[in-house]
């Protein structure tokens, strides 16, 4: 009897923590559950971000200058890529071999919004390769095509393509490698995650681990586990899908810390750690958020 009671209490506590047991909560907790319910209703009923999957699919089939399209190698509808996106980002020996070593380090397309690593310029040596980088490598090396921009503002095609390729792994568990070569980068990412910074002196963990489920003004802080597997996500406020690095940059700005460029080494390492905290959860791209 005592055992059953404690299991019941633990279950309710767990459900309360995940905001699902609306009926069993009271007062403040109920309010939290209800507003999350509202967001869930939006996401489950019909996520407008899903239309980006179709956009990405069209790009996938579009031929490059040498007559090849992504579909030429990876299957008419991308079938061969099932499960592939679930393993990104990965640590490789040669991060970004584009065959092009000249050009500016950062492509400044104007103010903070467009700051990104030059998508044409190679990054040599061991490091973290993201899915976006892999997409560009295929474009440059296999299709003789121009690389896509990595930024939120200018990289619409990259965003559509990323969403499409990731959606091919929907339902599969996220499986980012953190051992062997990857361990060192995971540790670096962990440091970035937990170091306090900015005028508000917060770390990522301050909000998304230590205060997950609590309110910050009107919004509820999401738990770190369950974040990465749904990016790129559809943001209701922006009525647009948003990249992971867009969010990293946004979070940093909100706590009044410096943000890094899209695809910077720091964010790539952060992806290894941050992403791995959602390992095992099914991919669900695009997700939805307020």
């Amino acid at each position: 009897m005592k055992e059953r009671l404690s299991i019941a209490v633990a279950t309710i506590a767990l459900l309360a923590w995940t905001g699902q047991a609306g009926a069993q909560l009271t007062g403040e907790e109920q309010q939290r559950a209800v507003s999350e319910e509202g967001a869930e209703a939006i996401g489950e009923e019909f996520n407008p971000g899903e239309l980006d999957i179709d956009e990405g699919k069209a790009l996938f089939m579009k031929e490059g200058p040498n007559g090849k399209s992504c579909a030429s190698c990876h299957g008419k509808n991308g079938e061969d890529l099932d499960g592939v996106a679930a393993k990104y980002p990965k640590v490789v020996d040669n991060v970004y071999p584009t065959g092009n070593t000249s050009g500016p380090d950062l492509a400044h397309k104007g103010q903070k919004q467009g700051e990104e690593l030059n998508p044409a310029k190679a990054i040599k040596g061991e490091g973290v390769r993201t899915l976006g980088m892999q997409i560009n490598l295929c474009r440059i090396n296999q299709m003789d095509a121009e690389p896509y921009s990595f930024s939120q503002k200018h990289g619409t095609d990259m965003r559509y393509m990323t969403i499409f390729v990731k959606s091919l792994s929907n339902g599969q568990p996220l499986d980012i490698k953190t051992t062997g070569k990857a361990k060192e980068y995971w540790e670096k990412g962990k440091e970035i995650y937990w170091i306090k910074r900015g005028q508000l002196n917060f770390s990522c963990g301050t909000c998304h681990v230590q205060n997950a489920g609590m309110r910050i003004r009107g919004q509820i802080l999401s738990n770190v586990r369950g974040q990465y597997n749904k990016f790129p996500t559809f943001r209701m406020k922006k009525q647009q899908t948003r990249l992971m690095h867009t969010r990293y940059r946004g979070c940093n700005r909100r706590i009044r810390a410096h943000d890094l460029p899209f695809q910077s080494a720091g964010y790539r390492q952060l992806e290894v750690y941050h992403g791995s905290l959602s390992n095992g959860l099914p991919m669900k791209v695009p997700g939805h958020s307020l």
């Binding site: 507003s35 939006i42 919004q219 943001r235 406020k237 307020l290």
Partner: protein, 166 residues
């Protein structure tokens, strides 16, 4: 035109004169015999959508600003973190063939009348959409029946300012 759905029963066919209130009143007085629905095309209620203030909006939309509480459910989040996209669901426990329309109002919006749904032949009086709210306000869902009666449900939705999501 044959109606495929046997559940719709009879429908008042609103002539496109914009005199919604008069027509409904006439139907209520038994002057207009309900006919089977044809291709509908109800006239867009522009004036009603422009009306300011709850009473004026309801008058323009329904011909009256009073409705009986009950028989209607309105589902909406208690707290909306994003006033631009507030999901709502209006439903009624009345028979499907008795519910002609749903009217949605957001009391504190500059023009409260938000939407009108014609349940021509749907089989279940329930409709959902997402609306814009300028500030914390009551949302009122009104079900209009085929015999000209109005039933309502009200829910306050609190619109908060953003947090760290930006």
């Amino acid at each position: 035109m044959r109606v495929t759905n046997d559940n719709t029963g009879r429908r008042s066919f609103l002539k496109t004169l914009g005199a919604t209130g008069a027509v409904v009143a006439a139907a209520g007085a038994g002057l207009m015999k309900p006919v089977k629905s044809l291709a509908a095309n109800f006239q867009y209620p522009k004036k009603a959508f422009d009306a300011e203030g709850m009473d004026a909006a309801m008058q323009a939309a329904m011909g009256t600003s009073s409705a009986t509480e009950g028989n209607v459910s309105l589902k909406a989040p208690t707290i909306a973190e994003n006033g631009a996209v507030v999901p709502i669901t209006a439903s009624s426990d009345l028979d499907a063939d008795k519910v002609a329309k749903f009217h949605i109002f957001v009391a504190k919006n500059p023009a409260p009348y938000t939407a009108r749904f014609h349940m021509v032949g749907t089989g279940r009086p329930e409709v959902s959409t997402r609306i814009k709210m300028g500030e914390t306000s009551n949302i009122v869902a009104v079900a209009e029946t085929t015999d000209g009666k109005f039933y309502k449900a009200t829910k306050e939705v609190r619109v908060t300012i953003g947090g760290c999501g930006g």
